[in-house]
């Protein structure tokens, strides 16, 4: 399901495996429309793939919101779930979870691909990941 709001944002539900594919395809198209080149499109689609999968597997599903950033020129992606949450983000991003298949490898990888990355999680409430990618300087809309 997707809905366009007044601000030109796009919402994608993440409730099953195939939604991960939809989410990253939507993010790629959105990024392309904003003027991102092919490498940035792939970085963005890959980061979305990682975080959407986390929301599905560890967060019992959630949703992604794409929007053009208001302050600087770029793309903002928010992925939220209402799952059990993660008690200790430092452990998740650190060595313990960063084994193949662990939560950490995907999170740390997604963080490296984006310009800004914020991870908020409250046990019993859910998890919210906010990621931003800036267009190359000198880019004009």
């Amino acid at each position: 399901m997707k809905t366009f709001s007044d601000e030109g944002s796009l919402q994608v539900e993440i409730q099953e495996e195939f939604d991960i594919i939809s989410a990253r395809a939507r993010a790629r198209v959105f990024a392309e429309a904003l003027g991102f080149g092919i490498v940035d499109q792939t970085r963005i689609a890959t980061a979305v793939s990682e975080i959407a999968r986390n929301a599905l597997i560890h967060g019992e599903g959630g949703k992604m919101i794409l929007r053009a950033s208001k302050d600087k020129k770029g793309l903002e992606i928010v992925i939220v779930d209402e799952g059990p949450g993660v008690p200790d983000i430092d452990r998740v991003m650190g060595h313990e979870y960063s084994k193949p298949g662990g939560l950490g490898l995907g999170l740390a990888g997604a963080k490296r691909l984006m310009d800004e990355f914020y991870f908020e999680s409250k046990p019993g409430v859910g998890t919210k990941v906010t990621m931003r990618k800036w267009l190359p300087s000198g880019f004009r809309w």
């Binding site: 195939f18 594919i21 092919i38 890959t46 999968r53 997604a110 691909l113």
Partner: protein, 123 residues
Amino acid sequence: MEEVSRSSILKIEDFLLATPQEAMHDIAAIRFRDDILRRLKDTKVNGLIIDLSGVDVVDSFMGRTIGEIANSANLIGAEVAMIGLRTDVAITMVEMGISLGNVYPLLNLDLALKFLRNQRRGG
């Protein structure tokens, strides 16, 4: 949602050419892995070429699955060559720190076939 798989596994010379479809979700990726390993056993070929030209995202899960295909194929006696990785995907993989295990990356199908002919196990 049920998708029609466009992934293919074809025999070429004494080798298998495996081409995953563009948008493969996790369950399809695991099914593809199992299909390849079964075909390697059944056809008794001794080499595998993975063609990633249709894959626009290799995230940690996809990277791990390709690595598992390569390492398992290696263990049952097949060398593994990889072709067709897009440059934007390669850049993203390097930045993320994703590696693919025992695969031998080559520029094109001709080179992959040449490589595998020279790697043949058991003469």
